[in-house]
């Protein structure tokens, strides 16, 4: 399918532990690390103590009661719309839509309810908030309302592959003509529940995150949001929009193997990559950059290297494959949306962000992970890979825009 009208990215919004917008991008290229001691709750009884939290985030004034992830999403969406220069009068509100991926939505409302129960009795106010603010569709609904969009709006909670799922769904809605513009991305908030679970899995690193390193010790939970404004190329041209990159293809699959562990053969990840390549009409040799899922756990990185080798050849075909989770931690459902923005900007600026804290090569992960320093070269095709609980695999390919 290469004769169809391209779906393109015309606006991006980032809310990350390394800042927002172009500042965040520069920090990623500079290899800065946002990981530090957890501040939002006491980790004394946990087996792990570091996270990548966003400091000093101020949600939009009218959104404070909606929850932290919604605040991130609204912030990122407003950035993306402004970046795209999209005025409300330029788009038919009925044909503007929203898709947002998330792992946990707004788990703080569960935590408040359980805190009140532990303190004596479940608070009726906290319980009511569970109905008013917890259901995850509200992420998309509130972003749609804020943008003035009245077209299709849905949250796609598919764990840590959710950002890519949301971008794929938005591209599908644009291709089928159900919408003219889509805000697509992901959002998740740092959460006690998530941290507790990963700590009990023994998955959290003691100090920092070093994907693909021989001595890697785990992932680091993070948070944030990214939203991309997508539209068909003709729509973008007609309104004179700047085009960043094309969403060239998407591939989705499920391991159907284990809730939290990947298929040891890498089969699901391979099928998602092949699906995205076929959708884009590309061959593995066309890919110039892979944004790896790269969580930094011993098992996940090894399985990812197996999958990349199956698709691209020995050593992942020598294609640069870095993980920005080494810098901003794992922002859960937002992670692949943030990484999608990194892929887009890599194609725009011909530079890819590094994997930091890389010290010792691992023969089981013999990839070029762009160790410790950003690299400048021509980035024509960037593949964004994401894997999540439930066996979800999602690959999205971005193509440099050369009009």
């Amino acid at each position: 399918m290469i004769d169809r009208e391209p779906v393109v990215v015309t606006g991006i919004g980032l809310v990350t532990a390394l800042g927002t917008g172009t500042g965040a991008w520069q920090n990623l290229l500079d290899g800065r690390c946002a990981i530090g001691p957890v501040r939002s709750f006491d980790t004394a009884r946990h087996a792990a103590h570091v996270g990548a939290e966003i400091a000093n985030f101020t949600p939009p004034a009218d959104a404070a009661q909606f929850g932290r992830a919604t605040g991130f999403a609204l912030g990122a969406a407003r950035h993306a719309l402004a970046d795209a220069g999209l005025a409300r009068a330029e788009v038919d509100a009925l044909r503007g839509g929203v898709t947002i991926g998330t792992t946990s939505g707004e788990p703080a409302f569960v935590e408040r309810l359980e805190d009140s129960r532990a303190a004596g009795a479940a608070s009726a106010e906290a319980s009511a908030d569970l109905a008013m603010h917890y259901p995850s569709h509200l992420l998309a609904a509130r972003v749609a309302r804020d943008a003035g969009f009245l077209g299709p709006a849905m949250t796609i909670p598919t764990a840590c592959a959710a950002g890519n799922h949301a971008i794929a769904a938005a591209a599908g809605l644009l291709r089928s003509g159900r919408a003219d513009v889509m805000l697509a991305g992901g959002a998740d908030a740092f959460s006690r529940i998530t941290f507790t679970g990963f700590a009990r899995l023994g998955a959290i690193a003691p100090e920092y995150c070093q994907p693909f390193d021989r001595h890697r010790k785990g992932m680091v939970p993070g948070e944030g949001a990214a939203m991309l404004l997508l539209e068909r190329a003709g729509h973008a041209r007609r309104r004179g929009a700047r085009i960043y990159a094309e969403v060239a293809g998407c591939g989705l699959s499920c391991d159907a193997y284990h809730m939290t562990g990947g298929d040891p053969s890498g089969d699901g990840a391979v099928r998602a990559m092949h699906g995205a390549l076929a959708d884009a009409g590309l061959s593995p040799g066309d890919v110039s950059y892979v944004s790896a899922h790269g969580t930094g756990t011993p098992v996940n990185d090894r399985l990812e290297a197996i999958a990349l080798t199956r698709v691209f050849g020995s050593g992942g075909g020598g294609i640069p494959a870095s993980s920005i989770k080494s810098m901003i931690g794992h922002a859960m459902g937002a992670a692949s949306a943030i990484e999608a923005v990194a892929c887009v900007l890599a194609t725009v600026h011909d530079v890819v962000p590094p994997t930091i804290h890389y010290e010792t090569p691992d023969p089981e992960c013999s990839l070029d992970c762009v160790p410790n320093a950003a690299r400048e070269y021509r980035v024509g095709i960037a593949m964004n890979n994401a894997y999540g609980f439930g066996g979800n695999n999602a690959s999205v390919i971005f193509r440099k825009w050369e009009a």
């Binding site: 009511a128 109905a131 569709h137 609904a141 849905m154 089928s176 006690r192 439930g390």
Partner: protein, 324 residues
């Protein structure tokens, strides 16, 4: 070239019906209930360890089992073809998520079960059902408020039409967890305010590309002719009638029909099983399928779910080609 999409099977778990025919009979007779009869997972999931699945996951796995059997989509076919799954839900496994956090508070975070943590992600039921049935295609959980179940079916139909996948099980589910019941009452929603009581159900259908369904000899029960979804201007205490009309009109336009022979509204489901949240739209689709089967003069059905939370979705179904 977009492909035509049909429905080849349906399965449901609900308080008043465990088959499409009984569901429509209950709708006609006004028989109602909001609480599942004691649900026996062994009936559909027997012979294997169901412990990793929480109750919502068991309901989804059971409804999926019934839909796959109805569609004669067996394990060999599923293993050879990447069949996907799309599940609409509002609350996911909120009771399980609360219980995980509660236990971490009570006994300490160092003692909670990693197995329980796997079920705290909002897509746990979809993931567990995929593992249970070997569904290796795209796996999506779709949250679109009261329209979640219908939106999940619309999402799956579009994915198949695009050529990305040949077959998906799609539908919706929500359960009457103590936490959801209390939350709705405390928020002054549901029957506390004279509205629809919270119900529970799971309903799934098997969607397939017409060409691949025919190639494997499957019987197509209905075609998806059109769909549309959108948001209300301002969500409120009541349904936005202009949204209902807008999505219905857009779905009819896509289907290329001016009117339909039958309409199945969310209210028809509410009347017999209460507000089953994510399951509502999927139950409507199941009722629409049965109506097409049982009533020869009904050739087209409009299913529309528009809820006070501001989400709306509509699907137009038609009798399969060649049926009379």
């Amino acid at each position: 070239m977009r492909r035509r999409v049909g429905i080849t099977g349906a399965g449901l778990v609900s308080p008043v019906a465990d088959s499409p025919a009984v569901l429509v009979e209950a709708m006609a007779s006004g028989r109602s209930g909001t609480r599942l009869m004691p649900f026996d997972p062994a009936r559909d999931l027997g012979g294997r360890n169901t412990r990793p699945l929480d109750r919502l996951s068991q309901l989804v796995a059971a409804a999926t089992a019934r839909a796959l059997i109805d569609a004669a989509c067996d394990a060999d076919y599923r293993a050879a073809h990447g069949v996907g799954l799309a599940l609409g839900t509002v609350f996911s496994s909120v009771g399980t998520i609360c219980a995980f956090d509660r236990r971490a508070i009570e006994v300490g975070p160092q003692y909670v079960s990693p197995l329980d943590f796997a079920n705290t992600v909002l897509n746990a039921a979809a993931g567990q059902a995929a593992i249970w049935h070997g569904l290796r295609g795209a796996n999506a959980t779709i949250a679109a408020g009261g329209a979640s179940g219908l939106q999940a079916i619309a999402y799956a139909a579009d994915l198949i039409a695009s050529g990305a996948i040949d077959a998906m099980v799609a539908g919706g589910a929500d359960e009457r967890s103590p936490e959801a019941l209390a939350a709705i009452a405390d928020a002054g929603l549901g029957d506390a305010s004279g509205g629809t009581p919270l119900g529970e159900a799971a309903a799934m259908v098997v969607l397939e590309a017409e060409e691949t369904a025919r190639a494997r000899g499957a019987q197509i029960r209905a075609m998806i002719l059109g769909q549309a979804s959108g948001m209300a201007h301002i969500p409120g205490a009541s349904v936005d009638a202009s949204l209902t009309a807008r999505v219905a009109r857009a779905a009819l336009d896509e289907a290329g029909v001016r009117d339909v022979d039958a309409r199945i509204t969310a209210g028809a489901v509410f009347a017999i099983v209460g507000d089953t949240l994510g399951a509502t739209g999927a139950l409507q689709i199941v009722a629409g399928l049965e109506t097409l089967r049982a009533q020869a003069h009904v050739r087209t059905v409009l299913v529309e779910t528009t809820t006070a939370d501001g989400h709306g979705c509509a699907i137009v179904m038609g009798a399969p080609p060649g049926a009379s």
